[in-house]
Each structure stands twice: as C-alpha cells, then as structure tokens.
Symmetry: C2
Subunit: 100 residues, 2 copies
C-alpha cells in the first residue's frame, strides 16, 4: 500500500485489471523511449521515434503531428514530460473516436 510499481514489473501480488494493465503498457512505453538526458522526459526526437514505431495507425488520425513535434523545441534537447505525452495520445485517441 502507498507504493505503486505500475511502470515496472509488479513484484507484489496485487492483480491489475485489463484496463490497468493497458495503462501500464502506455506508461512503460514512455519510459522505454525516454532514455536521453533526463529519464523522466522525452525529447522531440524520442517522441517521433515512439510515434513512428509504436503508434503507426493511431498517428494517422492526428493532424500535422509532425508539425506539432517540431513546435516542441530543439529536437534533442527539449524535454517533454509525461503529462504532455499522455495529452498527445489523448488527442489522437479522440480523433479515432470521432471519425466513425
């Protein structure tokens, strides 16, 4: 209790639901690409790699994602926090939901 390891392999016996496991996968994906500089942040280039490799279908439904990534600052220096990563995916997911 009071501790959460949902971004790592869980060592305790608490069972996650399917939805929690799905969220864990999205969290882990952030950490998998956040390797350069501060590990709690993605650079724009890391985000681009993540999108190309992990979100090829989803990213089709975000208008001008490339432009958005360019606006984030220096490709190798700017720091993108988890909340920004989550918001970008949310925008893409919203796009998917609307286009039926």
């Amino acid at each position: 209790m009071g501790q959460c390891h949902c971004h790592k392999k869980r060592k305790d016996s608490q069972e996650l639901t399917d939805v929690e496991r799905a969220i864990e996968i999205v969290i882990n994906n952030f950490h998998r690409y956040a390797v350069k500089g501060r590990k709690e942040c993605l650079t724009p280039n890391e985000l681009r790699d993540l999108v190309v490799q992990q979100l090829p279908q989803l990213s089709q439904h975000v208008c001008s994602l490339d432009e958005k990534i360019e606006c984030l600052g220096d490709p190798d220096e700017a720091k993108l926090e988890f909340g920004e990563y989550w918001a970008i995916i949310g925008e893409a997911a919203k796009g998917c939901r609307v286009k039926k």
Copy 2:
C-alpha cells in the same frame, strides 16, 4: 485509410501494435460505461463505477478522487467527455510514476 475503428472491433487487416491495442482498451472502457444519456459522455456516477470496477489499484494513487468526482456536477446528469476521462487517468498514471 482515413477511417479509424480503434474504438470498435477492427474489421480491416491493419495490425495494431501492443501500445495501440492498449490505448484501444482504454478507449473501449470509456464506451463500455458511457451508456446513460449521451453515449459520448460519462456521468459522474458512471465514472465512479468505472473507477471502482476497472481501476482499483490505479485509483489508490489519486488524492481525493471521490471529491473530484463529486465536483463534476449532478451524479446522473453531468456529462463528462472523453478528454476529461483521459485526463483523469493521466493524473492517476502520473501519480504512479512519481511514487517509486
């Protein structure tokens, strides 16, 4: 191309990545609970059911989630859009990330 069915069973042959499938699960979870009134929105009571049933571990890491849900308005009438649902989960996920 140009159409997205990531909130439904996919009928085309485009393969989703693990991360995209995970996002699809989180999207589908919204629709599973958004049954009353406008189907594109959750009521606060539907959100509470969703959190209790689907996010029992994750919700431990959001301070006063109950209070937050109460602030969303009339439990059976207020309409919570997908973006708000996504943001609440993001807050919880951020909480998980920070507490190591």
